[in-house]
């Protein structure tokens, strides 16, 4: 039987690190929007706004900025914008995203947790049910693909 590596997390240093990071990055902001973002319903089409001249470098896409379709993810719409530089994806921006509610306030932990760590490993077993956040990613993939199609 495989043994897992057991680690004890030292909370003081850990939270100090997190606090420093939070202070540096500031509050998380809402979805970034750009001038040509599309705010309508999921049936709207994608747009292409190629920027700096054509091609390409070694990648397979044409340089530029491309807006994907608005897809129906859960609890709302999802739309991405893709930037191609040197022929490949250099950035992905969310123009629309089904909102979560996350407050970035610092949390004060009392107890010291005991956590374990491992490398993830594929399992071949049959299961009854699968848990995972895959559904929003389908909308993400769809919106991304429509943007990449324009860049092809």
């Amino acid at each position: 039987m495989k043994k897992y590596l057991q680690i004890t997390v030292v909370l003081g240093a850990f939270f100090l690190l997190v606090l420093i990071r939070q202070l540096r990055s500031g509050n998380t902001s809402e979805v970034q929007t750009v001038g040509n973002s599309n705010q309508s319903s999921p049936s709207s089409s994608a747009q292409a706004t190629p920027t700096a001249g054509a091609s390409s470098g070694t990648g397979k896409y044409k340089n530029g900025t491309y807006t994907g379709s608005v897809e129906d993810a859960y609890y709302g719409n999802l739309q991405v914008q893709v930037q191609i530089s040197n022929g490949s994806i250099s950035d992905v921006t969310f123009l629309q995203y089904p909102s979560d509610n996350h407050d970035s306030r610092y949390i004060n932990e009392q107890a010291m947790p005991i956590l374990k760590s491992e490398a993830i490993q594929a399992q071949s077993a049959q299961v009854d049910i699968v848990s995972g956040a895959s559904d929003s990613s389908q909308a993400f993939q769809k919106s991304l693909q429509t943007a990449l199609q324009q860049a092809s």
């Binding site: 609890y75 969310f94 979560d100 996350h102 107890a111 993830i120 299961v127 956040a133």
Partner: protein
């Protein structure tokens, strides 16, 4: 008997193992989810949530379901030291809590009809009741966020809830719609709890805390968590291992 539906823009699955399962009992739960979507959807103009946000409906005049959800939201806000909130820029959006709550209510509906062995799932969040098909518990795989179609962990649960929060992946890039992706360490966080409502609300709160979220889950009695980070490692709570089905 196993049935699927597409509700609230999400895949819904209900499977009942008990003998004599009736399709109309499953349909009742699907219809309940549709009604909940009409109340809570922030994308339906006529939903109670949107009417509240436009000032057309006061909370005290809203349905008892909405008032109950708001009460649960307040409790979750306290329990998570403010990391969980259903108010964003002054607008109400209870999405981070409604899914788990609705699944849990749906499961209670089936229990009232006499079913003792079944599961109710909406988009990867699941309430299992009873001991599954072989009497040992329901086996649930945790998705590999990096490889489509692959599972990285199997747990066996009876009478519990499981919920997973996650980010977006393409190849090795993690995209965080909240801003700077370079800081996004946590790719997936799965929480096991006494029911899916509890698992979902704390998965939502914990995911907002980043790497610290798994320590938050560890601090909660009766919960277990499995966090996957962008370097393809997992960090899990002390109480998680007893649910794991090992492959060797």
């Amino acid at each position: 008997m196993k049935k699927h539906a597409d509700i609230m823009g999400m895949p819904v699955t209900i499977e009942i193992v008990d003998a004599g399962a009736k399709e109309e009992d499953i349909t009742v739960v699907f219809d309940y989810f549709r009604v909940m979507d009409e109340k809570f959807s922030t994308y339906k103009h006529s939903s109670e949530v949107e009417r509240i946000n436009r000032g057309e409906l006061r909370v005290e005049d809203a349905s008892k379901e909405l008032q109950e959800v708001l009460q649960q939201a307040e409790e979750t806000n306290q329990a998570s030291n403010g990391y969980f909130s259903v108010y964003h820029d002054g607008k109400l959006d209870p999405s981070g809590l409604v899914k788990g709550w609705a699944i849990w209510q749906g499961a209670k509906l089936l229990e009232k009809k006499g079913y003792r062995n079944f599961f109710v799932e909406i988009a990867g969040d699941i309430q299992v009741v009873g001991k599954g098909k072989n009497g040992l518990g329901w086996s649930i795989g945790i998705r590999n966020p990096f490889v489509s179609g692959e599972i990285v962990k199997v747990v066996r649960l009876a009478d519990k809830g499981i919920a997973t929060s996650g980010t977006y992946l393409r190849g090795s890039h993690i995209y965080n719609p909240k801003g700077d992706s370079s800081d996004q360490i946590v790719v997936s966080l799965t929480v096991l709890g006494p029911n899916v409502y509890e698992a979902d609300r704390f998965a939502t709160a914990a995911f907002a805390m980043g790497e610290k979220g798994i320590a938050f889950i560890e601090s909660l009695r009766g919960f277990a968590g499995y966090m996957i980070t962008k370097d393809k490692r997992a960090v899990f709570t002390d109480g998680f291992e007893k649910y794991v089905v090992k492959s060797d």
